[in-house]
């Protein structure tokens, strides 16, 4: 592939700077993503958490350059595995998708083609990126199935003959078939029940570690993040409002929204305690408030918050928070640090 850009740090497999995605409709403009920057190191897993509509999936699709019409994607920099994705032609994009960056979709029930056997579907993906005979591709497909814990003999079966968890394993096999450097998992366990969830997550962790792959895990389940991820980005209304290592975000929470998320979780130690949900709803992305998007729901909000968008503030080398109140020396949210 052409346009190989030397990254300053070889360790970084994915670098995204200032991504903005807008959906321009006749009547309104929906601002789905408003300036997101991510950098992902080899072998690390980034968790992307946020409510429905926070722009998580749109961010993932932007990385593949698959945002559907009428979406408009603007971005200062997108380099994956040393390839400048922004300068790719259609042909190069097709090569890049699946080979460098693969994606697992949310619902395994619908992400397999019902008219082909699972073996054929894995073999198809292999043959797209690796010119080989169908027999060889089928053999590799069977090996992939074994890898995700499905007997190779089942390669001749159709998706409807598999259960949901098994289908998600097949989807994982397809995504990993071409050995991508980065895997995006878009809520891979949302459609599965808890026991199967645990199995699939364990499988993904195992394969990630075996292959030294980087992963972006999109979820709204903070438990999954704690289980799988090294770094966490909390998204709200198309922005990352808190970013850091798992320890930074979970144990040294700084943003009021993140605090609200943790308060909404049931506490296993005191079961009588009432849940404290965040009041209000996510703002309409076609009509975002002028200042901080979270200000209308935030109990710490001041006039300054409502007047101007908060800048990204680095609290340590790894920990970023976008909250105006940290301008004031000594400002603290109520959630205590824990270690």
């Amino acid at each position: 592939m052409e346009e190989t850009v030397k990254t300053t740090n070889d360790d970084i497999v994915l670098e995204l700077e200032n991504l903005r995605v807008k959906f321009v409709l006749e009547t309104e403009t929906v601002e789905a993503v408003n300036g997101i920057s991510i950098s992902l190191r080899r072998g690390r897993t980034l968790g992307l958490a946020g409510e429905t509509g926070a722009g998580k999936t749109t961010t993932a699709l932007s990385l593949l350059r698959l945002v559907p019409y009428p979406g408009r994607v603007e971005c200062d920099k997108l380099v994956v595995e040393g390839h400048d994705v922004l300068k790719m032609s259609q042909k190069e994009l097709e090569k890049y998708r699946g080979a460098d960056l693969a994606m697992i979709f949310q619902d395994p029930m619908t992400s397999l083609n019902p008219v082909f056997t699972v073996g054929q579907q894995i073999a198809d993906t292999i043959m797209l990126h690796d010119p080989t005979t169908r027999e060889d591709a089928m053999k590799k497909a069977e090996a992939m199935l074994e890898l995700v814990g499905i007997p190779a003999a089942r390669a001749v079966e159709y998706p409807h003959q598999f259960s949901g968890g098994m289908k998600q394993r097949v989807v994982i096999a397809i995504a990993l078939a071409c050995n991508p450097g980065v895997l995006i998992a878009d809520e891979p366990t949302t459609a599965l029940d808890v026991t199967i969830q645990a199995q699939v997550l364990a499988l993904m962790k195992k394969l990630r570690d075996e292959r030294g792959m980087s992963m972006i895990m999109i979820t709204h389940d903070l438990g999954i993040i704690a289980d799988v991820c090294d770094e966490v980005a909390i998204m709200y209304a198309g922005r990352i409002i808190e970013y850091g290592t798992l320890r930074d975000v979970f144990n040294h929470t700084r943003h009021p929204y993140t605090e609200g998320l943790f308060n909404s979780l049931p506490n296993i130690r005191s079961r009588r305690e009432k849940l404290k949900p965040i009041p209000g709803l996510m703002p309409d992305p076609s009509n975002l408030p002028k200042g901080c998007a979270f200000a209308p729901r935030c109990r710490y909000a001041t006039d300054a918050c409502r007047a101007e968008r908060p800048a990204d503030r680095m609290l340590s080398d790894t920990h970023m928070v976008a909250c105006t109140r940290y301008d004031e020396p000594g400002f603290r949210i109520d959630r205590p640090d824990r270690d």
């Binding site: 698959l66 097709e94 699946g98 979709f105 619908t110 397999l112 019902p114 797209l128 079966e157 078939a177």
Partner: protein, 299 residues
């Protein structure tokens, strides 16, 4: 569960054998008596058409004039009687199956080929392409199909191939519409997006993943369109615009027998019955296939 154990489909799946789609469809079709009768008639017609040139000698038995035997009523020797030129109607009806089936299949294939290509483009790429294709389609389907057939055949000249082409073109709009509707329902499925994410090109996704998912309405449409193509072919031949005489096309046989309707009605009854039975057979099969291919109706 008793029923499931006897089903061959379920038994084979336990050994992880690839299920043949055709076997599943046939299994479902077998329960439908009408469709099986239709299939039987169609298969025997196909066999007759394949063998007709071996069984009959075209020049003497089918087209050969034998005035001495003219207008014999149905009897043991000529079970459908003979026409005004002394030709055996039974043999001619059997031989004519070739023309009706041939034109029916070929015309439908032409229509399907063009229709599926444009229909899938219109369904997949919405916007301008869809508008242009669908409006042209509206114009095409606004013209009555027989009129359209007459225009095309008279412009190109009466021959069997032009007849196929004319009928094929008139059946394009149906295929465009049905393919577009099927593609529209498939294109937003998550697996299409998942395929894009694996780096498959759009043309490949349409050809190898979307169209196979749209096959069941198209297959049903094919069987039903063959029936109407046979009627259209007979109508055009009746008008003298189809297969040229003396070929025993059923429609042109009807036309020949027209002047003897009062005195020798068997000249028109038997070719007419042949058309009726063939069309009925295709319709029965089409209805059966629609049920067999619909997963919601499967037990």
């Amino acid at each position: 569960m008793k029923k499931a154990e006897t089903s061959p489909v379920l038994l084979t799946s336990k050994k992880y054998v690839k299920q043949s789609q055709i076997r599943i469809i046939l299994h479902n079709l077998r329960k439908n008596t009408g469709a099986m009768i239709g299939l039987g008639i169609i298969l025997s017609l196909i066999i007759v058409s394949c063998l007709s040139d071996i069984i009959f000698d075209y020049d003497t038995e089918i087209a050969g004039i034998n005035i001495a035997d003219k207008l014999i009523r149905p009897c043991r020797e000529h079970i459908f009687g003979t026409d005004d030129l002394g030709r055996d109607i039974f043999k001619r009806v059997l031989y004519g199956a070739k023309y009706s089936l041939g034109v029916g299949f070929a015309a439908t294939m032409i229509g399907m080929f063009i229709g599926v290509i444009f229909g899938s483009i219109a369904g997949y790429y919405c916007g301008l392409a869809e508008d242009i294709i669908m409006r042209c389609n509206d114009v095409l389907s606004a013209v009555p199909s027989i009129l359209m057939g007459i225009v095309i055949v008279s412009a190109l000249g009466a021959s069997t191939f032009n007849l196929m082409l004319a009928i094929g073109i008139t059946s394009v709009p149906q295929f465009v519409r049905i393919t577009r509707a099927a593609v529209l329902s498939v294109r937003n499925q998550e697996y299409v997006e998942a395929l894009k994410a694996t780096g498959m090109s759009e043309a490949r996704i349409i050809a190898f993943h979307i169209i196979p998912n749209c096959m069941s309405p198209i297959i049903v449409q094919i069987t039903l369109r063959i029936a109407s193509a046979i009627i259209a072919a007979s109508s055009l031949s009746f008008l003298g615009l189809g297969v040229p005489v003396p070929a025993p096309e059923w429609g042109s046989m009807l036309n020949l027998g027209r002047q003897y309707v009062r005195t020798a009605s068997y000249l028109t009854i038997f070719p007419g019955l042949a058309i009726l039975i063939t069309v009925l057979a295709f319709n029965l099969l089409g209805d059966g296939l629609r049920d067999a291919l619909d997963p919601k109706l499967r037990k």
